[in-house]
Amino acid sequence: MTELRFWLHQLRKNPLSFVGIAIILTFIIIAILAPIMASPPENHIDPYQIPRDGYSSTPKPPSEEHVFGTTQGQYDIFYGVIWGTRSAFKVGLAVIGMVLVIGIMLGSIAGYFGGIIDEIIMRVTDIFLAFPPLILAMAITVALGPSLNSVILALIIVQWPVYTRLVRGDILAVREEDYVEAARGIGSSPLRIIIRHVLPNSIYPALVMASLDIGAVVLSAAALSFLGLGAPEGYADWGQMIQFSRNWIVGPPDDPMAYWYTVTIPGLFILFFVLGWNLLGDAFRDILDPRLARR
């Protein structure tokens, strides 16, 4: 209870965190209401596929029919960004969820047992951490064949060592506590000790930081999509929509900003999505900082 009050107090001290919460809630609502806000046309098989209005490559400015206009290939921008919100949550949750599962499992094993197992797991994480993450993710996506699932898998492969080390560190901090010794003394199995005694007392900082990392994960996924290694053409995905706009950055000489909407709108969606998570994350970094007094 005091812990909760401390958190709320810290959050109140940092009003920007509420802006962050508001932004994230807005995106959650958009994702839930996607079928209503941008209803797929009839006989549309996959709702994640953006409907096209013709095949001309030149984008069309916002109009009554297309609120945000159409991008290259006549894909509706409004439909794309709305359903793209769902794709973003899908990628973010899938990657963070998997990475946490792997991180908690390997991190607990390494941290609790120590010794040679710890050494092996840590040296393997060293190898994965020896690459600039985006470059390794790029190579893996190419190897798996470009697709959204490859991007998710590549980001999991790149991120798991980070969380494994994080969880291991947390576990090391409580491994020698008296209550753990006590549990060991009455003969509890290692699995039971880890699940009942060690994890509940050490894991929350990692959980919170991980969930706030969703923004960063979505940013990396969008970058891979932008490079042309992500979702198939026409899939509602923010990164890909920016890739579409690449050829339309500069308009005709008499109106150089003619196609501003193709790049600006999907970019703002990514920016605000990531900003929401980062605003909240900034407040939580202070909360989780053990150097701050908990009164």
Binding site: P133, I135, M138, A139, F226, L229, I249, V250, M257, I270
Partner: protein, 354 residues
């Protein structure tokens, strides 16, 4: 450099160098594992050193044993790498090793401008923010940092292009040089000493080339700088805040030193140590950023080449690039760690090394 080192420190350096071997071995294993997801025909392109060999790939598969056991293959593969053969880059029609060497100067030029901006700018703004904690400048830099690392790099670059290339009709263009300057640079009257346009222009005493290359560098450098600057700035701020709370700062203030001397002399130097330890991270972040930045601006360097190779599923180039970056990153971290032992007096004077 051995003279002043304690025994403990020497042992540490030796251990650190020995540790390099298993990590590099692991790095090569990981790249090799990724490689195994391809068919022997696709893998054969890694052993090609001349385009004519593509006509007879089965011969290559036979020669390098690409249908044999994994360990035999690893042996032949690593042997090729030690002989400097990383395969054939189809995108630019030259060996991967040559491609890396040819594209490296362009990327170095970009990093040469961005890195000092990131580090010096971050240190300056971060210590300013810490010295004025909870005042306007602190809040402004805090918000700027959060906004900065929420910005999708690729979007920022395109928006900058839209404004400075589109709206201001060609003021700051993409690519590395304009067409006519490019012809001039590659003609006989211009000698290429380093491959870095700015430096070559100065050495050739050619103002037009210098101006043109600088014009093309502004936007990529800004794009590469923004995100990383935010990171260093925040790190410097928190490190500085911690230092400012230390006893010796209180002493310095108590003996009546003026605030500037306290911040600049006593606090900043000590606060710099954590910033130095993340230089390895900065390298990785710039390497990541280079791929995206060069892609946006069609700036033909290593990152652009890697992107082209990835899009064309040119596996030899992508893996060659990844391996190159992995090795560079490992070496950077090694140098940072060794350098760290030199500058931190607690370690230099024989304290415990972790």
């Amino acid at each position: 450099m051995w003279g002043g080192l304690s025994l403990e420190l020497r042992a540490y350096i030796v251990r650190r160098l020995l540790l390099l071997i298993p990590v590099l071995f692991g790095v090569s294993l990981l790249i090799f594992a990724i490689l195994q997801s391809f068919s022997p025909i696709e893998r054969a392109s890694l052993y090609v050193s001349d385009p004519r060999q593509f006509a007879n790939l089965p011969a290559i598969i036979e020669k390098y044993g690409l249908d044999q056991s994994v360990w035999v293959q690893y042996g032949t593969w690593i042997n090729q790498i030690f002989h400097g053969n990383l395969g054939w880059s189809k995108v630019v029609s030259q060996p991967v090793t040559d491609a890396i060497m040819n594209f490296l100067p362009a990327t170095l030029e970009l990093a040469l401008f961005a890195t000092p901006l990131i580090i010096l700018g971050g240190i300056f703004l971060g210590s300013k923010a810490a010295a004025h904690k909870d005042r306007t400048i602190d809040h402004a830099t805090r918000f700027g940092a959060i906004l900065g690392w929420s910005l999708p790099t690729f979007w920022l670059g395109l928006m900058l292009l839209m404004v400075f290339y589109g709206y201001f009709s060609g003021l700051l263009p993409p690519e590395r040089l304009s067409t006519e300057i490019n012809i001039l640079v590659n003609s006989d009257s211009f000698s290429r000493y380093t491959g870095l346009n700015v430096i070559d222009a100065i050495l050739n005493w050619n103002g037009r080339v210098l101006l043109d290359s600088l014009r093309h560098l502004v936007l990529p450098v800004i794009t590469l700088t923004v995100v990383n600057l935010a990171f260093i700035m925040r790190l410097m701020r928190s490190s500085m805040l911690e230092t400012l709370g230390k006893g010796y700062i209180l002493t310095a203030r108590a003996k009546g030193l003026d605030e500037n001397a306290v911040v600049n002399k006593h606090a900043r130097r000590n606060a710099l140590i954590p910033v130095l330890t993340v230089s390895g991270y900065i390298f990785a972040s710039i390497a990541n950023g280079v791929v995206i930045t060069e892609t946006i601006f069609n700036y033909k360097g290593l990152g652009w080449w890697a992107w082209q190779s990835a899009v064309h599923l040119d596996i030899a180039s992508v893996l060659g690039f990844a391996l190159f970056n992995g090795i560079l990153f490992v070496l950077t971290n090694l140098i940072v760690d060794l350098f760290y032992t030199r500058i931190d007096p607690r370690i230099r004077l024989g304290g415990q090394v972790q």
